[in-house]
Amino acid sequence: MPVLARWIEAAGIPTVVVTMMPAVAEERRAPRVVGVEFPFGHAFGMPGDRAMQRRVLELALRVLAGASAFGSRVDLDIEWPVPLREAYRSWQPKEPSPIVKKLLESRSRS
C-alpha cells in the first residue's frame, strides 16, 4: 500500500496512508502516514463507532492537506477498546490464508 501511494503521488495526486503499521509505511517511504493502533481490517476503527471513525478520517484529511514535507507521520491517540488477546484473535481469518497454510506445511515437512 505505501508503494501504491508513492506511484499515485508521483503522478501528481497527493496521498495519505492510514495504517496499523506506520513504521513499515515510513520504511517504505510513503509520503504521508497516519498510524492507528487498531487490529487489521479496521483502519477507521470499531464497527458502528461513528465518533471514532470520524476522528481517524479527520486526522487523515488534516495530514493529507496540511503536511508540509515528505515523510510526515502522525499517530492517532486512541486505544483499541477490546482486550489485546481477544482483539488479536478476532481480526485473523477463520482459516489460515493459502500462503500461511503453505508455509506451515513446508515447516512441518522439514
Partner: protein, 168 residues
C-alpha cells in the same frame, strides 16, 4: 502516543515487515503538494480490504490465490459513493471479514466522508471510490503495469485533489 506497528501482528510475521527498507527502486522522496483548501477539494478513498459490489461486480479471484498462494488478484473495483452497506461484498483471505460486513465504514468510510462534505469541512467526495485486494505478488508487477495507471486515470477523471488509502 507512538503507535506500536506490530501490536496485532503474529510474532512470526514480524521479520517479513520490520527493517526491510524501501521497495526496490523506491527509496527517493515523492511529493505532490496539496495546493487547495480542504473545503474546496475533492477527496477520493481507496481500500485494500477486497471490497466489491455483490450485485454487479465479480469477486476478487480467491480460487486463483488458493491455487497459487504467492499470487493475489491485482485487479481493482470502482465503489460508488452512494453504495449501501448491504451491497458490499468482501473477498480477502488474510483477515476476518465479519466486522467489514457489519459496518464497511471501518475500511471505506463513505458515509463519514459525506458527513464531512455536508458540514463543509471537505469540498466534495469523488463520485466513485476505489478498492483493491491488498495481498499481492511481492514484486507488484501487475499493479505497477496495469492497475496503478488505470487508477491514476480514474482519479484524474474524477478530478480528485487527494486520496486517502487504507490498507486492510
Amino acid at each position: 502516543m507512538i503507535v506500536d506497528s506490530y501490536r496485532f501482528l503474529p510474532r512470526s510475521f514480524r521479520p517479513f515487515y520490520e527493517g526491510r527498507g524501501p521497495f526496490p527502486g523506491e527509496g527517493y522522496p515523492v511529493w505532490a503538494p496539496f495546493a487547495k483548501r480542504l473545503a474546496g477539494s475533492r477527496i477520493a478513498l481507496l481500500t485494500s480490504a477486497g471490497i466489491y459490489l455483490k450485485g454487479s461486480q465479480s469477486t476478487f479471484d480467491l480460487d486463483g490465490e488458493r491455487a497459487r498462494p504467492e499470487w493475489g488478484d491485482p485487479t481493482w473495483r470502482v465503489i460508488r459513493s452512494s453504495t449501501k452497506p448491504d451491497e458490499v461484498g468482501v473477498a480477502h483471505l488474510h483477515i476476518n471479514d465479519d466486522d467489514l460486513h457489519t459496518d464497511p465504514e471501518v475500511a471505506l468510510p463513505l458515509r463519514g466522508l459525506d458527513e464531512l462534505v455536508s458540514e463543509g469541512v471537505v469540498g466534495s467526495a469523488a463520485a466513485n471510490h476505489l478498492s483493491v485486494m491488498g495481498y499481492q505478488d511481492r514484486r507488484l508487477e501487475d499493479w505497477r503495469r496495469t492497475t496503478v495507471p488505470a487508477i491514476i486515470d480514474h482519479l484524474r477523471t474524477e478530478q480528485a485533489d487527494g486520496l486517502v488509502l487504507a490498507p486492510a
